[in-house]
Symmetry: C2
Subunit: 195 residues, 2 copies
C-alpha cells in the first residue's frame, strides 16, 4: 500500500483508510498508462478490489476522484523548500524542481485530469495553487527579513507557476533553464502596488 | 453553413468543403453543451449528416478533429489589432479582449479540448500560439519604430498569454483588469538579453 499520496482531507481511519489507499493506488496505476477521460469508476474499483458503489458513494464521480488524487499528489508534505540565502537562488531552485517534476508523464496526466475536472466548475480556483502559495509566502518573507526587494506572492504565481503549468498542459517544452528565465523576469519586475 | 471558422489548412473545394463546413458546425454545436471527452465521431457525423467513415478517413480520430476546429476558432482572420499609439495601450486592449473572449463557455471548452488533444503529444507546441506570436510581433515592432522600449514577443507570451490561458483552463477567474495587470507587469520587466 502506498503512503506517498498524503490525502488532503483528514485521513480517515480503519477500513475507510484502507479503501482510500487502495483507490488512490489504483488511480495512480491507471494514470501511468491512460488518459484521464479513459478512466472509469468500475475500472478503478476493480483494480482497487472494492465495490464500485463504495467509490460512487464516497467520491461521487470519477472526475471528483481524479481531482482529489491529483491535489494529494501536488500537495505532498515531503517537499523541502530551498534555503540558499537569496530569493533569486531560492526561487530558481524551487521553480526548477517544479519544472522537472511536472514534465514527468504521470504528473502531466494529473495536471490534465485537473483541467478536465474543471469543466462545469465556475472560477473556483485550482486547489493545487494553495500549496504553492504557502511555499512562496515563506520564501518571500525570509527574503524581506534579509532586507531583499521581493515581488508579491501573486506575481510569482502569475509569472512563474502559471506559465510552467500552461506549457505542460498544452505540451510545450519546459526545463530548468526556462523556469530560471521566468524567475529572472519576475525578479526584474516592478512590484505591484498592493502586495 | 457557417463561415465563421476559417480552416487552417487550405480550404478544399466542392463536396469536400461542404463536408468540412458541416462537420465544423456540428463540432461547434456539440461544444456548446458538451465536454470534449463526451464528443464522439458518430455523434459529430450524425449531426453533420455525413458518414462516420468520412470523418475517420479525413480526421483520424475525434481528438484530431476537435483540435483542428479549436485552432480554426482561435486563429480567425477577422480580429483587428488595436493601434492606440502606445505599446501599453495596444497590449492592454489586446490582452483585455483575449481575456473576455476566452472566458466565454464554448471558448473555454475549446481550450480544454486542446489540452485533451495534447495527451501523448510530446512538446510539440500549441498551434494557437502562432497567431498570437504574429500579432505581438506587429505591435512590438510598431512600438520600437516609435522609439518605445519593448519586451520581447516571448516575454509577452510567457507572462500575459500563458497566465490567461492557464487561469481559464484551470477555472480561475480572469477579467480585463487582471489582463491589464499582467501587461503592466511585463512592461516593467527587464528585457531578456536575446530578443
Amino acid at each position: 500500500m502506498s503512503t506517498k499520496s498524503t490525502p488532503v482531507k483528514r485521513r480517515p481511519g480503519g477500513r475507510s483508510a484502507r479503501v482510500q489507499d487502495a483507490v488512490y493506488s489504483a488511480v495512480g496505476e491507471l494514470m501511468a498508462t491512460k488518459r484521464p477521460d479513459q478512466i472509469t469508476v468500475p475500472m478503478v474499483a476493480e483494480l482497487a478490489g472494492v465495490n464500485p458503489t463504495s467509490v460512487y458513494r464516497r467520491w461521487g464521480d470519477v472526475d471528483a476522484l481524479l481531482e482529489e488524487v491529483a491535489v494529494a499528489v501536488f500537495t505532498r508534505e515531503d517537499e523541502k523548500l530551498p534555503d540558499t540565502g537569496s530569493l533569486s537562488g531560492d526561487l530558481g531552485a524551487w521553480a526548477g524542481s517544479i519544472a522537472e517534476d511536472i514534465v514527468r508523464p504521470h504528473r502531466t496526466r494529473y495536471l490534465r485530469a485537473m483541467v478536465n475536472a474543471r469543466d462545469g466548475v465556475l472560477a473556483s480556483g485550482c486547489p493545487c495553487w494553495n500549496a504553492r502559495r504557502e511555499q512562496l509566502a515563506e520564501m518571500i518573507s525570509r527574503a524581506r527579513t534579509r532586507g531583499e526587494e521581493a515581488p508579491s506572492v501573486e506575481q510569482v504565481l502569475d509569472h512563474v507557476i502559471a506559465p510552467l503549468y500552461h506549457h505542460v498542459v498544452f505540451a510545450m517544452p519546459i526545463d530548468r533553464t526556462y523556469a530560471e528565465r521566468l524567475v529572472a523576469d519576475v525578479l526584474s519586475m516592478r512590484q505591484r502596488e498592493r502586495v
